[in-house]
């Protein structure tokens, strides 16, 4: 059906089925865990940093299609980026999902992350899409606690 495909775009379904950068490092520079108590989604992120650049990143966990695909696409998008660039990406991502107007985000900055634009129409699912990003933020800020969507 048309509107469902707006949410579950092919790219999302593909990343859900075959998540990229799935795994863990033996000795990550940073790690963080994410948890969505509403649906039980769990996520662990491992980062390899070089100065303030994310040299490599992997994730592990279980969740719905939106949260899994979001984590998978996020790892692809942030690899090689500086922490400042990542913060800008996250702000744009959030703007796309929850912002008031198109002015809140830039599709050029977001690139393929734009496939999540359909999530905006499903407020109950926004948390699924941002779980990985909250977790990444916790890893960057080096907070030693579980990031939640609550």
């Amino acid at each position: 059906m048309f509107d469902l495909r707006d949410l579950y775009q092919e790219v999302i379904l593909d990343h859900n089925k075959r998540p990229r950068n799935f795994g863990q490092f033996a000795q990550p520079d940073r790690r963080a865990e994410g948890y969505n108590p509403l649906c039980g989604d769990k996520l662990t992120l491992h980062l390899a940093l070089e100065d303030d650049v994310i040299r490599d990143i992997v994730f592990k966990g279980s969740g719905c299609a939106i949260s899994t695909a979001s984590a998978s696409l996020m790892t692809e998008s942030v690899k090689g980026k500086t922490l400042d660039e990542v913060r800008t990406l996250f702000a744009n991502f959030q703007g796309m999902l929850t912002g008031d107007a198109e002015a809140d985000f830039d599709t050029d900055v977001l690139g393929k992350l734009s496939v999540f634009s359909g999530v905006r129409a499903y407020p109950a699912r926004v948390k699924c899409a941002v779980l990985a990003w909250h977790t990444l933020q916790a890893a960057i800020e080096a907070k030693n606690k579980v990031a939640t969507t609550e």
Partner: protein, 417 residues
């Protein structure tokens, strides 16, 4: 020999279409489709009788109760106490004073934990509950254990979602002061042998609390026959308003318990030196209660009684069997909760599709189901799953509703194929 008696009237068939007419919300169109409401274990929809009772109360009787000498206060008090008598008859309690109005089933359990529990359960005493309790029948006991040093023991469940009875018998003993068990599991659909559980508790001198939040709107409940010490239910699942619940307690138990909350209505006299508590049931109803809620709940119970819970149960049993059959035919679907005694709940997982995604996809077809852990995280852990999708039935559901769910699930399977 007497004349053969005239054939009695055929038992009145449960007329689901007539019942549906009594629920205005079922006429709603959601996403261009007729609403298919299968989230009844979360809350049920309300019949006209309840909506009318609420309107009638606020337009013709609204006043505070138990105090005023004016006409409105008297009629409001009478309506509120009439609702209590209706609830008493509904649960077959001996006396109206054995029925306490609470906010919900959760408050009923907390009340028992903090009054009966604080008085009778001490260090090294034990509370036994089952592995399929709702968080509301777990956390109040954990709080009590923290306060008193008592210990919580948990009866394990089988792969089908039934209690392991030998373990239950092993866990209940001389130290046990209270046994708490859910009548109908909200995440598995299991109907527990509660009379047997009560008997087991009493054999060891323990009190028994039954959580009937899910049960009381699906089949008749007789607290005298069960012989339980406490039984809790909630109005909003009994087709009544939110914010009103029922706690049944045996009079001698309730008499023996200290008040739960202090305030107006629960006292006989107050001086700064000494306050005397009011009699049952008022001792446990501090402050202005949810008067309209109680009256609305009374209307719901009267409506349900009129339909006949035996008839409702028979109809729903057939519907559950049909639903089970339909779900089993969808490839990749696995039911969670396959006890031999079940009611109204179809909890399931689908291979390759997360429950949350199932919920979103079927919602696009106007089908409302619940996804998540259903406030029973230990049950999810027991089955090694993060969540389930859950369709829960009520008496106004039809085979067409189940078919709509089946079709929506096929769509989900296609989307994620």
């Amino acid at each position: 020999m007497s004349q053969p008696s005239a054939p009695t009237a055929a038992p009145s068939r449960f007329d689901v279409h007539r019942v549906r007419q009594e629920f205005p919300i079922l006429g709603l169109v959601i996403r261009d489709r007729q609403l298919v409401y299968l989230d009844n274990a979360a809350t049920t929809q309300k019949p006209r009788a309840v909506l009318d009772a609420l309107t009638r109360y606020y337009t013709k009787h609204n006043a505070n109760i138990h105090r005023g000498v004016h006409y409105l206060s008297e009629t409001a008090t009478e309506a509120y106490e009439a609702a209590r008598r209706t609830a008493q008859q509904f649960l077959n309690a001996r006396e109206p004073r054995e029925v306490i109005f609470t906010r919900n089933a959760t408050e009923g359990i907390n009340l028992v934990a903090q009054t009966f529990g604080r008085r009778h359960i001490g260090e090294r005493d034990e509370i036994v509950i089952t592995g399929m309790e709702h968080h509301s029948n777990i956390v109040p006991w954990q709080l009590l254990c923290e306060q008193t040093g008592a210990r919580l023991r948990v009866v394990p469940i089988t792969d089908d979602g039934e209690l392991v009875w030998e373990e239950f018998e092993r866990l209940v003993g001389a130290r046990t002061k209270l046994v708490g068990a859910v009548h109908l599991s909200n995440s598995l659909g299991t109907v527990n042998p509660v009379a047997r559980i009560v008997e087991l508790a009493h054999r060891h001198g323990a009190a028994a609390l039954i959580d009937g939040a899910q049960a009381a709107y699906h089949f008749p409940v007789d607290v005298q026959a069960l012989d339980c010490d406490f039984y809790v239910a909630t109005g909003h699942k009994l087709y009544g308003p939110t914010g009103i619940g029922l706690l049944y307690g045996k009079a001698e138990r309730l008499e023996d318990m200290p008040p739960y909350q202090g305030g107006g209505d629960m006292i006989s006299s107050v001086t700064f030196e000494k306050t005397t508590y009011n009699e049952l049931p008022h001792k446990f109803e501090a402050g202005t209660p949810h008067i309209a809620g109680a009256i609305g709940l009374g209307a719901a119970l009267t409506y349900l009684t009129g339909l006949g819970l035996d008839q409702v149960a028979a109809y729903e049993r057939e519907l559950l069997a049909y639903g089970t059959e339909v779900l089993q035919q969808i490839s990749g679907v696995r039911l969670i909760g396959t006890a031999s005694e079940k009611a109204s709940i179809l909890s399931f997982v689908m291979e390759g599709v997360h429950p949350h995604d199932i919920g979103t996809v079927v919602d696009q077809s106007g089908v409302a189901i619940r996804t998540g852990h259903h406030c029973t995280q230990p049950v999810m852990d027991r089955f090694g799953i993060p969540a389930t999708a859950r369709a829960s039935l009520a008496m106004y559901n039809t085979r067409e509703d189940i078919d709509a769910l089946g079709a929506a699930l096929e769509r989900a399977r296609e989307v994620f194929a």
